[in-house]
Symmetry: D2
């Protein structure tokens, strides 16, 4: 078994409205295709993506930095309580078989770097043009379809 | 939300037959009461508990030490790919709202220690008589009922 | 090179006076033999051991759980800022080539478990009689000499 | 106390000759000013920086990803055995009070991201022009002087 196809969605913990819309839509598209969402479990892009996936009846996993499971946003069905601080970012992208990266700051940049090192394919959605080695998408739907294709390839 | 009640089952990665029977039965009892199982995702007690939970239709989460999701035993529905080595033991017990400890060795002892430090209640099932501060159960059913009661109390 | 012989001293963060005396004496004995001390960097046994090592001119390494280097006790010469929470306990015992365990609680128990799993020899000093698989010493000097002998053997 | 001023030098584990020369020179400049070097402990930029620091009589700390201290390059005086895999990158930049970033790939990018998130000042040395929020230097000496100034400011 080894579970469902799992895709990470990453981005700013304090995200602007358009970025949150993209994240929510990407979460919804993921869930509609039966994939599991993994994210950092907190606010901003993490919450918007989990909300979208939840609204479409999908599975949502949140890797929390602290020891308090109640820190998870309300759309996380499987909170993972890591206590690893920033190092939990490694777990988010390692658990994803591919990664969708929205606009973010240092934490998101760290996740992109870890994904590249761990050879998890990264799809940048309307962001991160300055970073080489990423796949590109303009819409949430395109990002999700590309991530699922790449995840299937990475497994093969 | 913050998810289902989640209970960790811990014990030897290479377990004898009676210990595996106890673990499988504990996994089954957990799932029958609607709780989620979290474990280390590999063999022995981890696999037996996940098998029991899976057979009863329950949710199973495995926190893997390496970067390879295919290392998960076949009964893990949500593999978490941590890459944290032995430190993933902290995540197992932190994610459980209570812990059921079967016979094990150094890794299990480490998990018991972390659970005590993090104030996760620990129910020892037919093992660990030498360690103070644990709750005790003689059967899987008793262990599961006690763990669920303690988890509810820890939440309150 | 790969550095000096390094010994971990572990025990309660809030230790009674006799335990602190043992820790300080063990730190001093370590330093007098030219070994490096690694510990968790905070108070109680960690501080007493670092103080003893510092007073004898030894090297002291503290693996801190948070992101604030100023949390280190004043006798730590090399603070390591891990941000890993309780998981930093794994680093303490993995960095030691042998471990001296004084009286402690859950965190110390976790470290003993990790050391056994990682095959780091553990010398219990006036404590932990209930745990199997440990070496035993009655005095700090005896503990240090045994730990150094075991560390040399573990290297060979 | 809380130790010496500590600067992280990061960059590719398999670095070209010019990048290694920059790293070695940066390590030497650091040591000549009495600062401690922290790095990832392995090859490429990590080894070149440690070599430079070692040649100038400086202190060198290497945060290793695995459990084997002999994996450290021969210029590491204080090997820290983390077993945390890629997550050890967080410890490298958290332990530095400022960071000097040379040319690198995913792992280095992850470290830059973590440093930005943890508010450790980053000085990019002849690399990483595409990343915003970094300080810039053209020579190792300039990078070291800037990093030391920034580290002092970050402490104040």
């Amino acid at each position: 078994m080894a579970g469902n196809i799992t895709i990470a969605i990453i981005g700013a913990g304090a995200a602007d409205e358009p970025t949150q819309r993209l994240a929510r839509e990407a979460g919804r598209e993921l869930a509609m295709r039966g994939a599991t969402l993994v994210c950092g479990g907190l606010g901003g892009v993490m919450e918007a993506a989990a909300r979208g996936a939840h609204e479409a009846g999908g599975q949502t996993v949140g890797i929390l930095p602290g020891y308090d499971r109640s820190a998870a946003n309300p759309f996380i069905k499987v909170p993972i309580v890591s206590g690893m601080g920033e190092a939990r970012n490694v777990i988010v992208v390692a658990t994803g078989q591919a990664v969708i990266a929205l606009r973010g700051e240092g934490g998101t940049l760290a996740e992109i770097g870890h994904a590249l090192k761990l050879q998890r394919p990264v799809v940048a959605l309307a962001a991160w043009r300055q970073i080489e080695g990423l796949h590109r998408a303009q819409t949430p739907r395109e990002a999700v379809e590309l991530a699922l294709t790449l995840a299937a390839g990475a497994k093969a």
